[in-house]
């Protein structure tokens, strides 16, 4: 795509007149279609073939169709006035294909309509990063006007206008995508357009505005103002843009607007801006570039001349920061709670232009930092896990469990991932409840429906505890305990009837021994605890091999009901101070079997416990 874009641009620069217009038109059309696809994937429409073909074999130019319909007042108007035939004609699709064209439109472009309407009404659901931005997503109408204007510009062969036009287009597309509600898609679209290479400094800045996050947003805005100041040029567009929006995120728009103003013929002004833009873009490309040099300490700013580009930018940035810190509106509150994308903090990008690569690179970077400072940069390995994982089939899902080293609250946080792959679909409450369905309410086991044992049951008070005394000759002896357990068991069995077996109560406790021979029991014991115990020995590896005839379930059952119970009984009597509250080889086992390592992430539930906690009272 990058190559294509270059080609078009070169051609359009070199050529003139209609050639330029045509080339550029195709470029725009191609982008329009690409954008449409993105929109579809955003709103879960399966991809449609582009360009669509009519029954008569002609390809529909979606972009043109869109413009034409828009020109006639939109889909509804065209429908109402039955203008589809003339639309088809205007699009060069031949006569009497109005209904097919209408179909194509409703299939392909209605979503875009609806979407642009939403944006116009600011109804797009607010969503983290985007919720502010949505407000600035301009109605598509405006975009169309711009593009039309752009075409006219080209017809007049204004080379300045040309590059500015390209920029404008891109900005608009960005804004539209921003409105789409997903930072990631914005990122990728940006990528495409950046790769498209408009060869324009301002473009770079805008990209920075998008991907560099707040800092750069401010930079972008700074560019506008300082430029305006420098040139003494009154940027009407800027003011009107500023009216529309009161946050910072609109700076891209502001820039654009001012750019429009500048590009409309005043080449001199544009040059003054381009110097600044070039500076910013150099920084953006490679902040570590020695050519940029070191910025002096803040205290020394005063001593530098106002002509210094960096000073204009930084002063403005400072002013914006200052202003905002006094802004205590809800807006501000939202802004703080807003979810940050990792790439917003990219400020060491190397020379790479590919945002995705940069993102990756940065995650890696974070990862490296994380292991170095194991405690502070905690969630890095979560990030790495995500990287390793197969990419989500829904590219618009927010990057899973983003790693954010938020500089705002200083607290690394794992965020709840959002997207169609994460949230449940909750229907709207209608107040109507479905008819009751007796299916799948469970099978009643107790009280047994046919059983008549209830008279037996209620003799003892419910919830009776263990009796302290009994009539046994040696109370508390092994025999005594065994007797009472057996007694209780018989009673339970009698009471429960069929339920006793349905709940597998016959496979509980030391009764399970009856299914095992003495020889087997001895073998089991030997396999579990051979003497001497080899290093790193895990009896389960061996136990299945030692009892080929026993099912896994039998072995597990014996293990929990007999082996462990007996071991516990032994501990109760002989080492009551050192009860192994669980059955396993505790920490050693965990460590090896579950890849339990020195963990510095929260991606496993097996979090290390502090040694103190293991001590039992």
């Amino acid at each position: 795509m990058a190559g294509d874009g270059d080609g078009v641009l070169v051609e359009s620069c070199g050529g003139g007149g209609s050639g330029v217009v045509k080339a550029l038109y195709y470029d725009i059309r191609r982008r329009f279609e690409g954008l449409l696809c993105k929109l579809w994937s955003e709103i879960c429409v399966c991809s449609l073939p582009v360009p669509p073909m009519l029954g008569n074999g002609s390809n529909v130019d979606l972009y043109k169709l869109f413009i034409v319909v828009r020109g006639k007042g939109g889909y509804d108007v065209v429908c109402d006035c039955k203008l589809w035939d003339s639309v088809a004609e205007e699009c060069g699709l031949g006569l009497r294909v109005g209904s097919s064209v209408k179909l194509v439109y409703s299939k392909y472009l209605r979503a875009l309509d609806a979407w642009s309407k939403n944006v116009a009404d600011s109804k797009v659901a607010e969503c983290g990063l985007v919720d502010d931005r949505v407000k600035f997503g301009r109605p598509l109408m405006e975009f169309q006007d711009e593009v039309k204007g752009l075409l006219l510009d080209y017809a007049e062969k204004e080379s300045v206008g040309e590059s500015k036009g390209g920029e404008k287009l891109c900005v608009k597309k960005r804004v539209r995508n921003g409105g789409n509600g997903s930072a990631e898609i914005m990122d990728s679209v940006m990528n495409d357009y950046v790769d498209g290479n408009f060869g324009n400094d301002a473009m770079e800045v805008i990209r920075e505005v998008v991907d560099g996050g707040k800092e750069s947003v401010k930079l972008g805005l700074g560019v506008d103002l300082s430029d305006a100041e420098n040139s003494g040029y009154s940027v009407v567009g800027l003011v009107s843009g500023g009216e529309k929006s009161d946050g910072n995120d609109d700076s891209g728009l502001d820039l654009d607007v001012s750019g429009v103003g500048v590009s409309s013929g005043r080449k001199r002004k544009r040059e003054s801006m381009s110097g600044l833009l070039r500076w910013v873009s150099t920084i953006a490309k490679n902040p570590a570039d020695p050519a940029v040099g070191l910025l002096p300490d803040k205290l020394k700013w005063k001593s530098s001349s106002n002509d210094e580009v960096w000073k204009q930018v930084l002063s403005f940035r400072e002013a914006v920061f200052f202003k905002r810190s006094f802004d205590s509106s809800i807006e501000q509150h939202n802004w703080q709670n807003q979810r940050m994308n990792p790439f917003m903090y990219d400020d060491h990008s190397g020379g790479s232009y590919n945002l995705r690569e940069r993102l990756r690179h940065d995650k890696m970077h974070l990862l490296a930092k994380g292991t170095a400072a194991a405690q502070s940069s905690s969630h890095s390995s979560t990030g790495s896990r995500d990287l390793d994982r197969t990419p989500s089939p829904h590219p618009r899902d927010r990057a899973e469990k983003q790693v954010v080293d938020s500089s705002i609250d200083g607290c690394p946080a794992v965020h709840i991932p959002i997207g169609p792959n994460h949230q449940a679909e909750v229907p709207k409450w209608t107040g109507l409840t479905p008819k009751s369905d007796s299916k799948w309410l469970g099978t009643q086991i107790w009280p047994s429906q046919k059983g008549n044992s209830r008279h037996l049951i209620e003799r003892d008070p419910i919830g009776k505890g263990r009796q302290d005394s009994c009539g046994c000759s040696v109370a508390g002896s092994v025999e005594c305990v065994r007797f009472h357990i057996g007694e209780k068991r018989a009673k339970v069995k009698l009471e429960l009837g069929a339920a006793f077996y349905l709940w597998n109560c016959d496979m509980i406790g030391e009764e399970v021994r009856n299914l095992w021979t003495n020889e087997e029991e001895k073998r089991f014991k030997d396999v579990v605890r051979p003497n001497p115990l080899p290093e790193g020995y895990y009896f389960w590896d061996h136990i299945f091999r030692s009892f080929p005839k026993k099912s896994r379930e039998d072995l597990v059952c014996y293990y929990f009901n007999v082996f462990l119970l007996q071991r516990r009984a032994y501990q109760n009597r002989h080492t009551p101070e050192d009860i192994d509250s669980d059955d396993d080889e505790a920490e050693d086992g965990l460590r090896n079997v579950f890849g339990y390592r020195q963990q510095n992430s929260c991606c496993s539930i097996l979090t290390p416990k502090k040694a103190a906690k293991k001590k039992k009272k």
Partner: protein, 429 residues
């Protein structure tokens, strides 16, 4: 001699023999022990016990992606080496191993919660209990933290068919991330999770700042706690927040996840709660007299899990259980003192009063945002809706006065308290 509430209790004897694998801390055998202890206390006589149906894949796909359910259905320990890509994709392996009967196990516990929800929907019971459920970490397209299928989400989706608003409360030591995530965008489910947060504790989510998004903004409440919280502070915080939540949100039904890993001495937990403290939360929620679905959850010290859930079954049945565990086949597991209650833990409580106050204030602040959002339909209030007056009268009068006066001071201090010099947001390693 029935409890005045009709209680449905779900149990399938087959879960007891499910085995996650050697040395895996999650032991479904604890369910078998719990059930047996319930039986030995004769609690079955006060309730109806059901065997859940095994949830069908299509039911599981009401929340989970069909491909994930299909994969869980298909995978076995013997074939898993052929599917390493999928295993990684669905996060199966380390924490969530593939074991024999994995899918059946999921079907049983998910079926239990779904059936429980359906019985509540049809007003066949007032309280439904499924100790096998509560696997709150499972995500739409992947397993997580020993959880494969998120039965809570499935149960809540079922309840949403009959109720405009469902309140989900989670007292597992881990954040209830799967449920929060599933309902992050909706105001029809409010999720409230009390959990340990920080120090890289799993799953890493659950900051108080996570409040939901879009329509669901402010409908996710997180109460992040630090190591060693004790009964007094926990129940106090719990009651304050939950009574405010119920008052504000007015749910039609409550789902309570009773993960027992928040108990003292849990193998993976780090709180100091005794069974009394833990079950006090259950008692408090029961007193709202709303339809209630109670599930299990975490809990990795088996005997304590069995103890805790037995006590809580008793609480739901309004039955005080004697401390001496009756004879039963598993009694030896409860040695050496064979008593039902466990003492509180002795880990240092890192939750300072001011920290807890800050958290509480933050939650209350978010709740106030809901009161200003009239978009939620609040008409549907069940007739027997009742909010217990939670005031400090229940508490020991000496302590109450003491805490009351202290709190006054603290709150005044806290007006300027931004959490940078206390152990508030920063997790000191």
């Amino acid at each position: 001699m029935r409890s005045k509430d009709r209680i449905s209790y779900f149990y399938d004897g087959d879960v007891g023999s499910v085995y996650f694998g050697p040395n895996h801390p999650m032991k479904p055998h604890r369910l078998c022990m719990t059930h047996h202890l319930v039986l030995s206390y004769d609690l079955h006589k006060k309730m109806e016990i059901y065997r859940p149906h095994k949830a069908y894949p299509v039911e599981l796909a009401q929340f989970h992606s069909a491909d994930y359910v299909e994969f869980l259905h298909r995978i076995t320990p013997d074939t898993q080496h052929l599917f390493s890509t999928e295993l990684a994709k669905y996060n199966l392996g380390e924490d969530c191993p593939v074991f024999d009967n994995l899918f059946e196990f999921c079907q049983i516990y998910a079926g239990g919660t779904i059936d429980a929800a359906r019985r509540l929907n049809n007003q066949l019971c007032d309280i439904a209990i499924n100790w096998a459920g509560g696997l709150h970490h499972a995500k739409k397209c992947e397993a997580s933290g020993f959880c494969y299928i998120n039965d809570l989400v499935l149960g809540i989706l079922e309840l949403l068919k009959y109720h405009a608003r469902v309140l989900y409360i989670d007292i597992d030591v881990h954040h209830g991330d799967g449920v929060e995530e599933a309902f992050y965008f909706t105001d029809r489910v409010m999720t409230v999770s009390f959990h340990k947060y920080g120090d890289l504790f799993f799953p890493g989510t659950g900051d108080a700042k996570e409040v939901g998004e879009r329509e669901g903004k402010y409908y996710a409440i997180n109460v992040p706690l630090k190591d060693g919280i004790d009964d007094t502070s926990f129940t106090r915080l719990f009651k304050t927040i939950i009574s405010k939540v119920v008052e504000t949100y007015q749910p039609g039904v409550i789902v309570l996840q009773c993960g027992a890993d928040s108990l003292a001495g849990d193998r993976l937990g780090c709180f100091n709660l005794s069974i009394d403290g833990h079950s006090e939360c259950v008692r408090f929620v029961k007193r709202f007299n709303l339809p209630l679905l109670v599930t299990g959850g975490g809990g990795y010290t088996k005997e304590n899990v069995a103890r805790c859930w037995t006590v809580e079954t008793g609480v739901l049945l309004d039955t005080e259980l004697p401390n001496e565990i009756p004879e039963n086949d598993y009694i030896k597991y409860f040695g050496p003192d064979f008593s039902l209650k466990i003492p509180s833990g002795y880990i240092e409580n890192l939750n300072s009063k001011s920290y807890l106050t800050t958290i509480k204030m933050q939650v209350m602040e978010n709740l106030r945002c809901i009161q200003h959002a009239p978009s939620v339909q609040m008409q549907e209030v069940p007739p027997d809706f009742y909010i217990p007056d939670f005031d400090e009268d229940e508490q020991n009068p000496d302590e109450r006065n003491d805490q009351h006066t202290q709190d006054k001071h603290i709150q005044r201090d806290d007006e300027y308290y931004e959490g940078d010099n206390d152990n508030d947001h920063m997790d000191v390693p």
